[in-house]
């Protein structure tokens, strides 16, 4: 580890803390549906969208209707993308002349992008035409992100409203978030990326005669416009197979920093927005503090492990940290930091290959996803996932002191706790169940590239990433098979919507409750004790279930590495 590395990590955290309030305040404006300066330009677009779609933005929806509209919209989007990908061969914008995708790959990709997972069973450059990247994938990057933030708004309203029967209007939320938050930021980010060297063209392959006289084909395309929303919307689906490790996606150390910041910025802002929505910004800071503790702990482990390197290579007299799968321009600190950021949020972009990390260095990204990506988390999904844990934390605290638990003015009762447990149980059930299945079936065992415990880690990581809607991978796994495409597609769908529906039910149930003012007997949810309790609950309830799996994979791998055992 180096001083420069730690300056980068702590500087990164400091920038985010500074951005929390301004971004949070902007989000709060959209949450309230207030006018912004951007309305002068984009207001007519917003009204036009409502008019053509027959939407009445002021008409409030109960949680069931909100959920129904959200689900139908996602099904429609997914069907649209499935069609674009299948018909790729006959559509324009295809300079490489690529064929349409196979049914199972098109299904997997459509689910993957609709659920904000952006798991890539395909290798960008050899599979997707420019039109598919733009029309099939970029729209999901925006709208799955907007959907996540909209859902967080609905839950915030559940906490904030008193004796209300509605949680907002889905269409108004999604449209405003897209037009007034994501689109303008993406325009600015795209220009920055292009200026830094990320291509933005409709051309395809350029033929190069290298200095040694060999032939090289370089693929260009509309990369920058997709890169911007890929990070900001915590999507993570790369234009190229190598994702943000590819020099065209992420050419410099500065673009790398901006990419990491854009993964976290909306999630950080949402913690402040939550505090503001429930009338006490300290509630938001308490959540952000718990997230920051878990984040820095993760970064420390991964950075230390990667900097220490692989003793098996040290025996061959190779110097220093683990550079397999990493780019020279980023080095170890920026690669370790990126891996923790991308898995703490549900982004899943990678600037280094997690599969080639040291066992414990790679375990942290895996564990981050298994915790439910609640450390900042995906846009929207992070904060609503975190609030599910907060509900359980006040419940546990209530059990200890023997009082009905309360959180930000709402009594937490049996219904909310049951629904929260239901949502949280989806993760271990699906991840461990499907990993176990794939570890015994022939089709499952055909996947891993690496042998021994690391091969098991590849399978565990795949299902963790899919159910957690992350999208990063231990990419050695050959996943473009009917078995993995199908199973991972189902896993992504369940991991997204089987969490969302109980969460929206909680929002509806909370909105209907009366306000319970804080009293002397209330458990305070702003101080250090609360932050500690949150961290403990997340680690114990979220993490403990996965320990046996981690012992079989990364921990066994680590012990083998120390002994110098090869597989």
């Amino acid at each position: 580890m180096t001083l420069q590395g730690w300056i980068l990590i702590l500087g990164f955290v400091a920038i985010l803390l500074v951005l929390a309030k301004p971004i949070g305040a902007w989000l709060f404006t959209l949450y309230e549906g207030r006018r912004t300066p951007l309305h002068i330009v984009l207001g007519p677009v917003e009204r036009g969208l409502y008019k053509l779609a027959g939407v009445e933005p002021v008409q409030e929806q109960g949680w069931r209707r909100y959920a129904l509209h959200m689900l139908l919209f996602n099904v429609a989007l997914m069907t649209f993308t499935y069609a674009v990908l299948r018909l790729q061969g006959v559509l324009p914008g295809n300079p490489q002349g690529l064929a349409g995708l196979s049914p199972h790959l098109a299904f997997n990709t459509a689910v993957s992008f609709a659920t904000n997972t952006n798991w890539q069973s395909y290798g960008g450059e050899g599979t997707m035409s420019n039109l598919s990247q733009m029309l099939g994938l970029t729209i999901h990057n925006f709208l799955s992100a907007a959907t996540g933030i909209a859902l967080a708004f609905a839950l915030f309203r559940g906490f904030a409203r008193r004796e209300a029967s509605t949680v907002g209007n889905f269409w108004a939320d999604v449209t405003r978030i897209t037009l007034y938050l994501l689109l303008p930021l993406c325009v600015a980010l795209t220009l920055f990326y292009i200026a830094s060297g990320v291509p933005q063209t409709l051309a395809g392959v350029v033929d190069v005669t290298t200095l040694e006289g060999a032939r090289q084909s370089i693929l260009l395309g509309p990369v920058a416009s997709q890169e911007a929303i890929k990070m900001l919307g915590t999507n993570g689906g790369g234009f190229f197979n190598a994702n943000s490790a590819h020099p065209f996606e992420n050419p410099t150390a500065l673009t790398n920093l901006v990419q990491m910041l854009s993964i976290f910025v909306v999630g950080v802002g949402l913690t402040w927005c939550f505090g503001k929505a429930v009338g006490n910004t300290r509630q938001g800071w308490a959540i952000l503090s718990a997230m920051a503790i878990l984040f820095l702990a993760g970064v420390t482990v991964t950075y230390a492990q990667e900097a220490a390197g692989n003793p098996i290579l040290h025996q061959l007299d190779i110097a220093g940290g683990n550079m397999e799968g990493k780019e020279v321009r980023f080095g170890i600190a920026a690669s370790a930091l990126f891996s923790v950021v991308t898995t703490a949020a549900s982004c899943g972009a990678v600037n280094a290959m997690h599969d080639s990390f040291t066992p414990l260095g790679g375990m942290i990204p895996l564990f981050n996803i298994q915790l439910g990506e609640v450390v900042i988390g995906g846009v929207g999904a992070g904060i609503y996932g975190f609030l599910l844990f907060a509900i359980l934390a006040v419940f546990v605290a209530g059990l200890m002191v023997g009082r009905t638990p309360e959180y930000v003015g709402k009594k937490i009762e049996a219904r909310e706790v049951k629904l929260a447990v239901l949502a949280i149980a989806v993760l271990p059930l699906m991840i461990l169940g499907l990993t176990a299945l794939s570890s015994v079936l022939e089709q499952g065992l055909a996947g891993p590239l690496n042998k021994g415990p690391h091969g098991f880690s590849e399978i565990l990581y795949a299902f963790t990433s899919a159910v957690g809607n992350n999208g990063s991978a231990f990419a050695g796994l050959t996943a473009n098979t009917p078995y993995y495409n199908g199973l991972l597609g189902v896993a992504m769908w369940i991991g997204r919507f089987f969490v969302i529906v109980p969460m929206l039910a909680i929002a509806g149930s909370l909105a209907a409750k009366i306000y319970t003012p804080e009293s002397a007997g209330s458990f305070p949810t702003t101080g250090g004790l609360w932050v500690g309790l949150l961290v403990g609950i997340i680690l114990i309830l979220g993490g403990l279930t996965f320990m046996p799996g981690l012992a079989l994979g990364p921990i066994a791998d680590h012990l083998a590495m120390i002994r110098g055992q090869l597989f």
Binding site: Q4, L49, L52, A53, G54, V55, R65, F80, E125, M134, L135, T138, I139, L183, C186, L191, V198, P199, T201, L202, V208, T209, T210, L211, E212, Q216, S217, A242, A245, H246, P247, P251, A253, L254, I312, L313, I318, A319, G320, N322, M323, E324, G325, K326, E327, V328, R329, M353, D355, S356, T358, P359, L449, N450, K451, H454, D557, M561, Q565, L566
Partner: protein, 198 residues
């Protein structure tokens, strides 16, 4: 619920089409137009041409250098090496026998070239993209004696070229762009004007 369902169907379909037009076509096409006007070089891949106008590479993307006359690039898992249509890391785990089997001969090759002490890690490991354009200064300097010998240049001259091409910043690790370095090397070897080196 039946009425709810049909009333939700219209916005779901219409919004899909409208947003597809806005976000899937208007946004990327507008950015392409603006990017092509404001940053024509970068938007088209930062391509490098030789005196005849032939494209010889990109300043951003790495290309394979395997000859003894040049600074050699890192091992690459992109296709057969530096394949611009198949970016990829090796994805080999730290305990993979295949990793050791790949690294060992590379280390021995470097030893044969006279590299002493610990071998710089990036020189014998594959990058994440398989298209890494850079080397660490240590990995470049380790190759300086070989290049000096093959080209008949003083080794200090070669080291000075590495130092001149090394870029570092507060954010990133110091690194050398291998294409730029090798062009500078060619220019130094033939005594051509400095502008060819750029």
């Amino acid at each position: 619920m039946g009425k709810d369902f049909s009333s939700a169907l219209r916005p779901a379909i219409v919004m899909t089409i409208l947003f597809a037009a806005l976000l899937g076509l208007a946004y990327p096409l507008a950015m392409t137009g603006i990017g092509q006007v404001l940053f024509p070089v970068q938007a088209n891949g930062s391509l490098v041409r030789d005196g005849n106008g032939t494209v010889i590479g990109s300043t951003i993307v790495g290309q394979a250098f395997t000859s003894n006359r040049y600074f050699q690039t890192r091992p690459s898992a992109a296709g057969k090496g530096y394949d611009g249509l198949a970016s990829s890391g090796s994805n080999l785990g730290p305990t993979a026998r295949a990793l050791v089997d790949r690294v060992k001969p590379d280390v021995e090759t470097r030893r044969g070239e006279g590299v002493t002490g610990a071998v710089p890690a990036d020189l014998v490991t594959a990058s994440g993209s398989g298209l890494d354009p850079d080397l660490s200064p240590a990995a470049a300097l380790a190759q300086a004696p070989r290049i000096a010998r093959v080209r008949g240049l003083p080794v200090e001259r070669v080291r000075a070229l590495v130092a001149a091409q090394t870029k570092g910043s507060l954010l990133g690790k110091p690194h050398v762009n291998v294409l730029a370095l090798n062009r500078a090397l060619d220019a130094a070897g033939s005594g051509a004007a400095d502008d060819r080196a750029r």
